[in-house]
């Protein structure tokens, strides 16, 4: 059994290591870049999963933490202030500042529940974006809507992830290198998520999600535990943001719009709230799907109808919207729900109804 499992892990590891080269050979660099973004989004989705999936706090402004991480990295590693701090300083610092913002957001909003929390977090996300967009005067900090360009690539010692290398006759490009770097961070985030899930804290989050009053009666300090959820989620967002800034070499406020927050939430819910595997799946699908439709919309029409009737790009987003609806109708608990949720769902509708009334409408 044990042997079996470890050989499974080995296969998975080899597959993950070989993946960029397989994608590259089959589909080209563009798709490796998409895989890179998928990893960044998986990190984001896992961070949001802690807040929404574990602790049951609906956050619609999550992208703000991504923005904070990205701008921290950008400001400390670009010609903007002439600073070129190394990645092993800026990335953790970005995560720390994002964590601080998480607490800042969490503290005044803890009393709020469900949909009120949603709109406040939404507002918070917009406030951060608006400030980033406007802090170019009277004192130029963020360079306003122009964004910050020429950001230092991700570097460790003398090794830059932004360059190409020849290694044993194989050319390894920047998209491949970033893939491996992001993979390491993603695995780390997955590891932390899973450990948290099984820890006292993780159980406390679930308890709060299921019934806040009961959790409090059991001696859980609900305020601190909720704050911790915000802080942890924000930290993951901050790391992902720093990596994004180094990868893109350019950040501007338009990358951190409300639609991005909504997309990350879609990943969590569509994949399966509270389940790490499901969230990863959700991230992969929602990054890949629009790109798949981009390539498929034209040729499929050509094959079916003999000519391109509708602009492929109009059809692409239409199909994406339809896919969101259909998947949710088909699997309301997400594609790959956590085992606990699935049990509830399969076993007895009344359990779920009960849960619903308490989870989100605690004080209704």
């Amino acid at each position: 059994m044990k042997l079996h499992r470890s050989s499974g892990h080995l296969t998975l590891a080899i597959a993950l290591l070989a993946l960029p080269f397989i994608i590259d050979a089959l589909l080209g660099h563009g798709w490796v870049r998409i895989a890179d973004f998928a990893l960044l989004y998986i990190m984001l989705a896992l961070g949001l999963n802690i807040v929404v999936g574990y602790a049951g706090l609906l956050d619609l402004g999550y992208i703000a933490f991504f923005a904070v991480g990205a701008y921290t990295y950008a400001l400390l590693g670009s010609p903007q202030f002439g600073l070129h701090w190394p990645m092993f300083v800026t990335l953790p610092l970005g995560a720390l500042i994002a964590c601080g913002f998480g607490v800042l957001l969490g503290a005044p909003t803890l009393k709020l529940r469900g949909d009120y929390l949603a709109i406040v977090t939404l507002g918070f996300g917009e406030i951060i974006r608006i400030f980033l967009n406007n802090l170019n005067a009277p004192l130029n900090i963020t360079n306003g809507p122009q964004g910050i360009s020429a950001i230092d690539p991700l570097q460790l010692g003398g090794f830059s992830f932004g360059s190409s290398y020849q290694w044993m006759g194989i050319k390894i490009d920047d998209v491949h290198l970033h893939y491996y770097l992001f993979l390491v961070f993603t695995l780390l985030v997955i590891f932390v998520s899973r450990r948290l899930e099984d820890s006292r804290i993780g159980r406390a989050w679930v308890a709060i999600r299921e019934d806040e009053v009961a959790a409090s009666a059991m001696g859980i300090n609900t305020r601190n535990i909720k704050l911790l959820a915000f802080a942890m989620g924000a930290t993951f967002g901050g790391i992902s943001g720093g990596l994004f800034a180094g990868f893109q070499g350019f950040v501007s406020p338009e990358s951190f719009s409300l639609m991005e927050s909504i997309m990350v939430l879609c990943m969590v819910v569509l994949g399966g709230m509270g389940n790490v595997g499901g969230v990863v799946l959700g991230g992969v699908i929602l990054v890949a799907l629009p790109e798949l439709f981009r390539n498929a919309a034209g040729p499929v029409q050509l094959a079916l109808l003999g000519k391109v009737v509708v602009d492929p790009e109009s059809l692409r987003m239409l199909m994406f919207g339809l896919a969101l609806i259909l998947v949710m109708l088909w699997r309301p608990a997400g594609l790959w729900p956590s085992s606990q949720r699935r049990r509830e769902f399969d076993a007895d509708g009344s359990v779920l109804e009960q849960e619903q009334e308490t989870v989100y409408d605690a004080s209704k």
């Binding site: 929404v52 609906l58 005044p108 909003t109 009393k111 709020l112 529940r113 469900g114 949909d115 009120y116 949603a118 709109i119 406040v120 939404l122 507002g123 918070f124 917009e126 406030i127 608006i130 400030f131 967009n133 406007n134 009277p138 409300l258 909504i262 939430l265 879609c266 819910v269 569509l270 709230m273 509708v310 602009d311 109009s314 059809l315 987003m317 239409l318 994406f320 919207g321 339809l322 896919a323 969101l324 609806i325 949710m328 109708l329 309301p332 608990a333 949720r341 509708g349 779920l352 109804e353 619903q356 989870v359 989100y360 409408d361 209704k364």
Partner: protein
């Protein structure tokens, strides 16, 4: 002084539009406890349908007043059908699903409607052919035109009508009953599905009216117009206390006033540091402040009065 008066008028007009759209959010929320994210897009579809109908009617040389009324009716009818279908297709099957599932389908519906509109009406902006000129009036140095007066009056009338409907009709009583306790309402012989469908259709009809008025006021229509408006209206609904009809009205008008006064005065008060570029920030700050002190919005959600 005339500047202040003008800013208050600006805020009232803008706020009335927010309020009308917010009513749609709040009605659905009051009954289902669901944020109907696609509501903003229903407003956009209403505007688009009204545009097409108005163009066709004017081309057929129908009397201007009749054309306006007819196109408004057509838009309302289409939106009611749309609201009904959205609920049947995207929300009803998920009524017993986890709470966030319908939120995702709502986002899906929103994307679909937007892109359908783009395919049907094209990517460009359209002018909204209002068949009469909207004359301006001077009130103590401030300017206000017919369309703006119309917006405020219609919003008020609809508000009063809706209150009457909810409190003095059979349907209204059924709506309140469902909002209060769905299971008990069923036992009392209320057809929940019917009530919910009626709510969606009512909300969508209001969305069509709002879409028409926004288009008439600004003179342009675009497939992307619903998103921001929906977001603002949703904020307004929460500000007033989502689920509460009077709250939606109050929240809408208040949000309009905060925006216009904030953009108009805070820049000068802070020496240009916090100017009109922070317009939305003021709105959200007020929202957060209100919710921190009154976690259920300004007027709260008095259960009996919800819906």
């Amino acid at each position: 002084m005339d500047i202040l008066l003008q800013q208050i008028i600006n805020g009232l007009v803008q706020g009335s539009v927010y309020a009308l759209v917010a009513l749609g959010y709040t009605m659905v929320y009051g009954i289902l406890g669901l944020i109907n994210f696609a509501h903003g897009e229903v407003v956009m579809i209403g505007a688009m349908i009204a545009l097409t109908a108005l163009q066709a009617l004017l081309a057929a040389v129908v009397a201007p007043v009749l054309a306006v009324l007819l196109s408004l009716l057509v838009a309302m009818a289409v939106c009611m059908a749309l609201g009904y279908s959205i609920e049947r297709i995207a929300y009803r099957p998920l009524r017993n699903a986890p709470r966030l599932a319908p939120l995702i389908t709502a986002i899906g519906v929103s994307i679909v409607l937007q892109n359908l509109a783009m395919m049907i009406w094209g990517r460009e902006y359209h002018s909204f052919p209002l068949p009469f000129t909207s004359t301006s009036h001077q009130i103590g140095g401030a300017v206000v035109n017919d369309v703006q007066i119309g917006i405020v009056v219609v919003a008020l009338l609809i508000m009063v009508g809706l209150m009457w409907l909810v409190h003095h009709t059979r349907t209204g009583r059924a709506m309140r009953a469902v909002a209060e306790h769905p299971a008990a309402a069923t036992l009392m012989g209320v057809d929940i599905n019917r009530v919910i469908s009626v709510t969606f259709m009512l909300g969508s009809a209001l969305a069509a009216i709002a879409g028409f008025m926004v288009s008439a006021n600004y003179g342009i229509v675009h497939y992307y117009m619903g998103f921001m408006l929906g977001l603002k209206a949703f904020t307004a609904a929460v500000l007033g206390g989502i689920g509460n009809l009077r709250g939606a009205m109050l929240g809408g008008v208040l949000l309009g006033l905060i925006e216009s006064l904030g953009a108009g005065y805070i820049g000068d008060l802070t020496g240009g540091f916090l100017g009109s570029h922070y317009q939305d920030v003021f709105a959200f700050f007020v929202l957060i402040a209100v919710l921190v002190f009154r976690p259920s919005g300004l007027l709260g959600e008095k259960l009996a009065e919800r819906a």
